[in-house]
């Protein structure tokens, strides 16, 4: 950094003098005192990017119960700390204002969403599964035992965890629901 008084060290002055504003001439006492917010995190979780299937390592920084940053994990032999535009934006995926955090319900023929308590919604869904399963149960089909329902179907899994897919397949199969599919078919 240049010697002399504060004016000669002032970034604006230095840049007006022709120094490159993208390099040393951008520095000031204030910027020198700045620290990355990752340093102030309470916890760091080792995670994996949720977008494509490369599986880049992510470090998730949390302070005061909020995600403050998500960065590439330099230890990962797959990604070596790098993230693409989507992976780099994944803090926004978790924190953006458009994310829904409440249960919504649309009644038959309804024109608007309504709010619903999560426990109530879970009970209502369980009721519907039990009822639809009963009403559409097939014990036999073309003379063969099938023990199933074709009244209940599911789609999804490719964005979920293995453990989640496992419980989904286990539950659907025990219920006799066979039309279980995910993006891998598509």
């Amino acid at each position: 950094m240049a010697d002399g008084g504060w004016i000669s060290r002032w970034p604006v002055f230095r840049q007006l003098q022709g120094e490159d504003g993208r390099r040393d001439a951008a520095r000031s006492a204030r910027t020198d005192a700045l620290r990355p917010r990752t340093e102030q995190a309470d916890t760091v979780a080792r995670s994996v990017c949720p977008y494509c299937a490369v599986g880049c390592g992510q470090l998730v920084y949390v302070k005061d119960g909020k995600v403050t940053q998500i960065e590439g994990d330099p230890d990962s032999p797959i990604s070596r700390g790098r993230l693409c535009p989507k992976g780099s934006a994944s803090k926004q995926l978790v924190t953006h204002p458009g994310r829904r955090t409440e249960v919504l319900y649309r009644r038959p023929y309804g024109t608007e969403w309504e709010r619903l308590d999560l426990e109530t919604a879970m009970d209502m869904i369980a009721d519907r599964v039990v009822r639809t399963r009963r009403e559409t149960w097939q014990q036999t089909h073309e003379g063969k035992e099938v023990r199933r329902t074709t009244g209940i179907a599911g789609l999804g899994g490719a964005t979920l965890d293995n453990e989640e897919n496992y419980l989904m397949k286990k539950l659907y199969t025990a219920l006799g629901a066979i039309q279980v599919e995910n993006q891998a078919r598509i």
Partner: protein
Amino acid sequence: MAECHPVGFQWVMEARLRGAKVFHIDPRFSRTSAVADRYLPIRAGTDIVLLGALINHVLSNELYFRDYVLAYTNAATLVSERFQDTEDLDGLFSGFDPETRRYDPSSWAYEGDEEATTDEMREGGATHAEAAGSDSYGARGAGASARPPTDPTLRHPRCVLQVLKRHFARYTPEMVDELCGIAPEDFAELAEAITANSGRERTTAWVYSVGWTQHSVGVQYIRASAILQLLLGNMGRPGGGIMALRGHASIQGSTDIPTLFNLLPGYLAMPHAHRHEDLADYLEREGAGTGYWGNRRSYLVSLLKAWWGDAATEDNDFCFDYLPRLTGDHGHYTTVMGQIDGTVKGYFVIGENPAVGSANGRAQRMGLANLDWLVVRDLTLVETATFWKDGPELETGEMRTGDIATEVFFLPAASHVEKEGTFTNTQRLLQWREKALDPPGDCRSDLWFYYHLGKRIRRRLGDDEIDRPMTELTWDYPEEGQYREPSAEAVLREINGTGPDGRALSSYRELAPDGSTRCGCWIYCGVYADEVNQAARRMPGNRQSWVAPEWGWAWPANRRILYNRASADPDGRPWSERKAYVWWDADRGEWTGHDVPDFDLRKPPDYQPPEGARAEAALSGTDPFIMQSDGKGWLYVPSGLSDGPMPAHYEPHESPVLNTLYGRQANPTRRIYDRPENPYNPPGAARFPYVFTTSRLTEHHTAGGMSRTLAYLAELQPELFCEVSPQLAAEVGLVNGGWATIVTSRTAIECRVLVTDRVRPLRVQRQIIHQVVVPYHWGHEGLVTGDVVNDLLPVVLDPNVYIQESKVCTCAVLPGRRPRGQALLDLIEEYRHG
């Protein structure tokens, strides 16, 4: 790859810096093309012509890796004299039934196997094919003889190599020119590069994505690549292989532990009502008794024990009858037709957005509108949740909100940082994610949702016989935290499996056929070895070997390259020092190397199976493809596929070009839905002159639910556009930055126009073929909106795996914006009928 898997592409660039030559073959010029050594534009839907010509080049010039091919593939195996090729039958293989448009594959068998394949319930037979049976081969081939007759001189006219030679003889550089639009000199450069870079010292890798799978001949695209790679000796070796780049964080995991209709965990087929009446039937008809699949009783019984615990006993077939039975196609598109027809009443959509992401979005939304109830779980209100409020059919007047009876539940989901669990990436690697914090508000993990839903359902059931699979299900996991989150580690441990002592198993070799072991997914057995979550291992990459075996855990058995026995020669020595990977250590009497050997550790190269040996013991010391009944890489597939034992080029269902290879225009066994909701562009209709294909962008993700909602990404790619060549722009009257309307028989969409030299018109059959390339990420929700591109696509499926042909159809292009309301319906009607 640079566009859609950019961080993975860094390794291609590393290889290029070290001298690798990179070819990019794609209808679209993308970020990959920009940094490849050579970019070859190709007409969408013609890859089998190109791959077939490469195979022909290798065979007719004797450029195959003879030692590898002879020892490790079925090149020498003799095929039944009943087999007739597309050469004999003008584009059909023997066994085609024009009434049902299905094959009877019994004549495709190896010599001597014909009798064994007369059972109509066999693998590859019509009943098997109707339930997407071919799709269960994620970990094996169909059953065939372990020791079929062979001719090691490779001269017998019915040995596989000679059958291949005749079959591919008509796939010439001239055909590549005529059908793909790739000039002979460009083809020659590609052919020279892949053959010069294969053999003892070098390997070539092929990388594909949905550009190969989303076709009515998708499986045969990949088969063609497999034939080429086997001929060149590029399988099971470092720097070789065929890499499927998958599009979602755990789409590989959701195939291994399948939320798919025709599979149980670990590529065990879902039982079929006619083929599998009981456990004995199932074990008899799902594969041969030789190779690792010969242990399938252990895999299946351990799964049944994991699900039904003490209720599953030898006396009750381990509750095999608790598994519901298939009777045919219960796949995604048939399910949607069932919704339209009213047989499907309730639908769970979990982290997926079919109203935008599936072909023929209008049919998808018609299905949603006819449900009794719909549950959508996602981070945001995706189009599938809001179809009743602002779907495109409301604008055209085809639907009215007040008429739609569907009850919709939207449940907000936890994000990837608000739950713990494993993703399986595209290279079969399981990586555990730590939880950073609890989810906000009503957001919950899907693990939470399904676990607590299951508990609630169980409380509502009595002792009815049909409820026993539910009431006797093992469904008791430790609950943690303020939301009573079920323990994901406990679930992973159940997937891994436990032995008679209740301890975690270390390997699928420990699974027993007698019910003494439990295992939720046999190929994942070992992920919790030594009671340690192996997927959570995080040894930094720079502190271990280049194979990085201590980062995460790859199935099976933490192997990073499958079938790696093939990286050594038949005597067990590396093919070359440069390509050494796994080899036989004669002093120690075991296989060793950089990776976990994909072979019986102590089976010497000179091992010969005794008469009557079963499972892995039936394979010799030179049989690397251990999931196959004969241990060989299959150049020719004697059973298990529904559209032929070898790839043949057929045009896409909708194509402006005549198939000049055969007298068959399109795949004769493709699955079509001839219904009013799914009209096709009429064959040869001049009003649909252009080839239409869809694409993706770095800045967006599939149907957009995780990207159109983010300000950063929305700003980077704010608007739907089509890429067209200057010639097409001039022909139609399109202006760069202006609007275009793209029309098919399904609908019309509008998008901005990007006129660019990146899209090159192709000379095909002495005419110019224009291709229109459109990314499909937009919909009517999110920060940036646009028409749903997949609404243009018809539903036509590959007959093996029921994936739709969404990478190619035909279209018309008009200048300007599309009409609104009834005028849009009038336009489509006009185009439908000409």
